[in-house]
Amino acid sequence: MARTLLNIPKTAQRGEVIEIRTLIAHKMDSGFLPDAQGQRIPRDIIQRFACRYNGEQVFSAELFAAVSANPYLVFYLVATESGMLEFEWQGDNGFTQTERVPITVT
């Protein structure tokens, strides 16, 4: 399981646009660089990210090798009801990780 840093307001007002910051530990090997022996390191990146709000996808991203290691994504969504935010990352070599964070909307 890769380490993640998720910054989400614990509570929000209904209708408020909130900022979500996500950071996940991942080397994002581009596939273009050689190792110390001169051998090309094969690509190993996170390719997809999705955020679901009570099951409905509200934001997604397709990432390429040009995204820096430890991918950082900041995006927004409208706080509509209390529930669960789910963050999912998928990538090369079967990489998959899901994190869930509750949100309270008043």
Binding site: F32, E62, A66
Partner: protein, 168 residues
């Protein structure tokens, strides 16, 4: 503008100092020497960038405007370049941004990232950190719910890490 990749080997190493204009030229050569992993003809890369934008737009006209691509003009290190894209839009069901894509000019690959939005986004804005192989142009393209495409571009100067670094 392409600068020569190597200095002449008879450069004096002792106390002799070249006259000022020459020194300025030598210093100027430092900028932009970050070195692309693959060296390709400039024209081919610009065409590829245009092709990538066109492919994303599905042949539709891409107009400059409404999109704001924010990136530092001179970055500390090409490995981690913070970048933000935002688009003016009410983000209602009837009128919203559906996608934003970021492309580059001189990396080994044109694509950087593609993002999908909807009315539940509230704001058509995203930030991330990207890798830039060398000084180059970045383009951000947004697709709106009415099928129109808008763009912004930025020129970024990428220099070496400040210190002498023996690591490759």
């Amino acid at each position: 503008m392409h600068l020569p990749m190597r200095l002449p080997m008879n450069l004096p190493m002792k106390t002799e100092v070249p006259p000022s204009p020459v020194r300025r030229d030598l210093l100027a050569m430092g900028v932009g020497l970050a070195g692309a992993v693959f060296v390709r003809p400039v024209a081919a890369q610009s065409e590829e960038l245009a092709a990538a934008v066109a492919a994303f737009a599905g042949g539709a006209t891409v107009r400059p405007g409404r999109v704001k691509l924010e990136v530092a003009k001179l970055v500390d290190n090409g490995n981690v370049v913070p970048v933000s894209v935002s688009v003016e839009s009410p983000m209602t069901a009837a009128d919203h941004v559906t996608a934003i894509a970021i492309f580059n000019e001189k990396n080994p690959q044109r694509d950087i990232a593609k993002f999908a939005f909807g009315p539940r986004s509230g704001k058509a804005s995203v930030s991330t950190r990207i890798r830039l192989a060398t000084t180059q142009k970045l383009v951000a393209v947004a697709r709106l719910s009415d099928g129109s495409f808008w763009s912004d571009s930025a020129d970024v100067i990428v220099v070496l890490a400040a210190c002498i670094d023996g690591e490759a």
